[in-house]
C-alpha cells in the first residue's frame, strides 16, 4: 500500500542548479513545465515546504524566458487553488511573461488576490530557498496587483471586484492601497468602454489551455490493471474496483482527509455532494455512481472517510461511496495517472482531479488542476449513460 521509502537522490541546491541549467538552454527550456508535474520523481519523499521551494523556483525559471501554453495551466492552477504565499507570488510574476495577456486570466489573479490578502507576507524571489526576514522584499499581494496592472484594460472584467477589494475595511496597508489605486488606474486607462465587467467567480481558462481531456470510446485505456483491486468504503465494506465501477458511468474524485488546503480536497468533496444532488434532481441518482477515493489509504480509515464525507454533505450508500484502496494504491495511482506525490505514505502535493468513467470503468473524461464545474461533470456522465444506450 505504501511506497518504499528511499532517500531523495538530489539535494535542493542541486535541483535549483538543474532548473537554472535547463532554463539557460534554449533547446531544453520546453522541458521545464514537465518538472511541475506532481508525480515527477524529483518530488518523491520530500516535505511539503521543500516542494513549495522547488516548484516556485521552476515557475520563476519559466518566467525568465516566457510562459508557454503548456506551462500556463500550472500557473492558473496555482492562482486558482494555491494558498502558499511564495508559490502565489511566483505564479503571479511568471504570468507576466505570458505573451498573450487576455481577459480570461484576470479572474484567476483576482481570486488569488482575495484569497491571500489576509495572509500576505514578504517573499524573496531572487535566490533559491531564501525566506524574507524584512518586509523590504515583494509579496504575493504586490505581485498579483502588478500582474493585474500588466493585464491593463484586459482586466476590466474584474474592475468592480477590485474596487470592492480596495474599499474593504482592513487587510491592506497604506502602501498596498496605493498599489491598488495604481492597478485600478492601469486597468481603466485605455479602456474605451469604461464599463466595469462581471465578477471573477466563473473563470474559464483561455483558449489553448487544457484542463479537461476526453477520450472517445475506442481510445479509452483499459481498466483491466485495476479491476481486481480491493477497495473499502466508509462503512468498512470491501468491494472490488470492477464491482463498483463496472455497469454504469461513475464520477470519481480524489482527496485525502489531512489536506490542509481548503481550496482542494475539502472543496472537491463538497462539490461531489453538490454533484450528487444534481444527479438526484435529474433522476440519475441510482444510475450514475459517485465516489471519492482517498490518496492516503493508510490513514484514511473507514470512520475517517465517513465523517469527512458527512461533514461535507456527501450521500453514502451502495451507489455512492467514500473509498480507500486496501491493497494496491500504487496500481490505482498508475491507472489514473494521478497528480500526486508522497513522503512515506503521506501526500506531499497533489492537484485537483475528477474523472468520469464509462460503463466499463474506463476513464472517459478527466478534469484536472482548475476547479471543475459540477454541471459539466454531471452532463458528461449523463452523456456516457446515453452512449451505452445508443
Amino acid at each position: 500500500m505504501q511506497k518504499a521509502v528511499r532517500a531523495s537522490p538530489m539535494s535542493e541546491t542541486q535541483f535549483a542548479a538543474l532548473v537554472d541549467a535547463i532554463a539557460a538552454d534554449p533547446h531544453q527550456r520546453e522541458e521545464l513545465p514537465a518538472l511541475l508535474r506532481e508525480d515527477h520523481s524529483l518530488y518523491d519523499e520530500r516535505g511539503a515546504a521543500a516542494i513549495v521551494r522547488m516548484r516556485g523556483w521552476v515557475l520563476l525559471a519559466i518566467a525568465r524566458f516566457g510562459v508557454s501554453d503548456a506551462a500556463l495551466i500550472f500557473l492558473l492552477e496555482e492562482l486558482d487553488t494555491g494558498t502558499d504565499a511564495y508559490l502565489l507570488a511566483a505564479a503571479a510574476r511568471a504570468l507576466r511573461s505570458y505573451p498573450r495577456p487576455t481577459g480570461a486570466l484576470a479572474p484567476f489573479v483576482m481570486r488569488a488576490l482575495a484569497r491571500i490578502s489576509y495572509r500576505d507576507e514578504p517573499v524573496l524571489l531572487e535566490t533559491y530557498g531564501e525566506y524574507a526576514v524584512s518586509s523590504a522584499s515583494t509579496s504575493p499581494v504586490r505581485e498579483l496587483l502588478t500582474t493585474l496592472a500588466w493585464l491593463g484594460p484586459n482586466a476590466r472584467g474584474i474592475l468592480r471586484e477590485l474596487e470592492r477589494f480596495r474599499g474593504q475595511s482592513g487587510g491592506l496597508s497604506r502602501k498596498l492601497r496605493i498599489d491598488v489605486d495604481r492597478t485600478v488606474h492601469a486597468i481603466r486607462s485605455g479602456d474605451e468602454t469604461g464599463k466595469p465587467g462581471t465578477d471573477s467567480c466563473c473563470a474559464t481558462p483561455p483558449d489553448g489551455v487544457r484542463s479537461v481531456s476526453s477520450w472517445p470510446l475506442n481510445c479509452r485505456g483499459d481498466a483491466e490493471p485495476v479491476e481486481s483491486i480491493t477497495l473499502q468504503d466508509d462503512k468498512g465494506e470491501l468491494i472490488t474496483f470492477n464491482e463498483f465501477f463496472k455497469g454504469q458511468p461513475s464520477i470519481v474524485v480524489f482527496f485525502y482527509t489531512r489536506c490542509d488546503n481548503p481550496m482542494k480536497c475539502s472543496l472537491t468533496v463538497t462539490k461531489l455532494a453538490r454533484v450528487q444532488k444534481m444527479l438526484e434532481a435529474q433522476g440519475f441518482g441510482d444510475r450514475i455512481h459517485t465516489s471519492a477515493i482517498t490518496y492516503d489509504p493508510a490513514f484514511d480509515l473507514p470512520a475517517r472517510l465517513r465523517i469527512y464525507g458527512e461533514d461535507r454533505g456527501v450521500r453514502m450508500n451502495a451507489h455512492h461511496r467514500m473509498l480507500r484502496a486496501v491493497d494496491d494504491n500504487d496500481a490505482l495511482r498508475r491507472h489514473f495517472e494521478l497528480g500526486v506525490n508522497f513522503i512515506g505514505s503521506l501526500v506531499n502535493r497533489h492537484r485537483i482531479e475528477a474523472y468520469v468513467l464509462d460503463i466499463g470503468g474506463r476513464v472517459a473524461t478527466c478534469f484536472e488542476r482548475i476547479h471543475w464545474d459540477e454541471q459539466q461533470v454531471v452532463t458528461r456522465a449523463i452523456e456516457l449513460l446515453n452512449e451505452t444506450q445508443s
Binding site: V52, R119, G171, L346
Partner: protein, 297 residues
C-alpha cells in the same frame, strides 16, 4: 424619532469608545517604547495596550522594533511579542502588518535568549512557516545548529503534519538524546501510518516505560484501531501486565470496542472481574466495575 435619536447616540458613543481606545493604545505604546521608563512599567503598558485597536504603521513599527532590539530588556521584548500575538487575532485589523510581524519573528528565531527563540518559533510553526520548519529540522539533524532542545523542536514540528519530520523522529526514537525527546518523537509519529507496527511492539513491551506504552496505545487507536482492540484484550488477559496499562486497555475496549462481541467474551470479562477485585488502585477498580456493569456483570 426617539429611536433614531437613541441610535445616533449609540453610534456617537461607540465612535467615542473607538477613539478613546486608540488614544489609550497610543499612550500605552509610547510608554512601552520609552527606554527611560522601567522595564516593569513598559511590560505593564504592553499588557494593557489594546493593540488590536491600534491602527497606524508607526505604533506597530515601534513595537516590532522593541521585539527586534537585542539591547532591550528581555522582559520588555517578550511583552512586545505577547502584545503582537494578541493583536494578530484580529485578522482584519492586523492583516496589513502581518508581513512585518512574520519577518520580525524570523529575524529573532536565533536570538541569544532561549525563551524568545522558542516562542518566536512556536508562533511561526503554528502558521506552518517553511523558514521555521527548516531551522528546526536543521537543528535536529545537526545539534550544533539547534535553536531549541530536541523535544521542543519535535513538539513544534508536530504542528504541521506535512513537515518532513517523520524520518528525523524515527532516528530519534532509535537513538534518543534524552527521554523527553524520545517521547515527543513518538507523539509526532502517532500521525504516521507506517509507524503502527512500532507502536504495537512498544505497547506490548513490559520493559518499556508506562508513559511510552500509553502513548503507543493512543497512537494505535488513531492508526490501526483494530490492532489496538486485539492488543488491549490480550493485555487484559495477561495476569503479569501492569494495572495502569490494563486500565488504559480497558478504556480502549469500553470506548471503541464492539459491544456485542465484548459482552460474549467470557475470558475477558473474567480478567476484568479480577482487576475489579484485586489490589489495583481504586480508580482502576472503578473503571473495571463500570465496564462489567455495562455487560450486566
Amino acid at each position: 424619532m426617539a429611536t433614531k435619536r437613541k441610535a445616533a447616540k449609540r453610534s456617537k458613543s461607540a465612535k467615542k469608545r473607538g477613539a478613546s481606545s486608540q488614544v489609550l493604545a497610543r499612550r500605552a505604546v509610547s510608554i512601552a517604547t520609552n527606554e527611560q521608563k522601567s522595564a516593569k512599567q513598559r511590560v505593564a503598558a504592553l499588557a494593557e495596550a489594546p493593540l488590536a485597536a491600534f491602527g497606524n504603521d508607526k505604533d506597530l513599527a515601534a513595537v516590532l522594533s522593541v521585539l527586534r532590539n537585542k539591547d532591550e530588556p528581555i522582559a520588555v521584548r517578550l511583552g512586545a511579542l505577547e502584545s503582537l500575538q494578541a493583536a494578530s487575532f484580529s485578522a482584519d485589523v492586523f492583516a496589513p502588518y502581518r508581513g512585518d510581524y512574520l519577518a520580525t519573528l524570523r529575524k529573532v528565531v536565533d536570538d541569544p535568549d532561549p525563551e524568545l527563540r522558542q516562542r518566536a518559533l512556536g508562533v511561526l510553526m503554528r502558521d506552518k512557516d517553511g523558514f521555521a520548519q527548516q531551522k528546526l529540522l536543521d537543528g535536529l539533524k545537526n545539534p550544533d545548529k539547534a535553536l531549541v532542545p530536541p523535544e521542543k523542536a519535535l513538539q513544534l514540528l508536530s504542528y504541521d503534519v506535512h513537515a518532513e519530520a517523520y524520518s528525523v523522529a524515527r532516528d530519534i526514537v532509535k537513538t534518543p538524546p534524552n527521554d523527553e525527546a524520545r517521547r515527543e518523537a513518538l507523539r509526532l509519529l502517532a500521525a504516521d501510518a507506517s509507524s503502527a507496527p512500532m507502536f504495537e511492539k512498544l505497547l506490548r513491551d513490559k520493559k518499556e516505560l508506562r508513559e511510552i506504552r500509553q502513548i503507543s496505545a493512543s497512537a494505535l487507536n488513531a492508526l490501526n484501531p483494530e490492532k489496538l482492540q486485539k492488543h488491549a484484550r490480550e493485555i487484559l488477559l495477561d495476569r503479569s501486565d501492569y494495572d495502569d496499562i490494563k486500565a488504559t486497555s480497558l478504556t480502549a475496549l469500553a470506548q471503541f470496542g464492539d459491544d456485542e462481541s465484548l459482552g460474549k467474551d467470557k475470558a475477558l470479562l473474567e480478567s476484568v472481574d479480577r482487576l475489579s477485585a484485586g489490589k489495583a488502585p481504586s480508580k482502576y477498580k472503578q473503571s473495571a466495575r463500570r465496564f462489567l456493569k455495562k455487560y450486566d456483570r
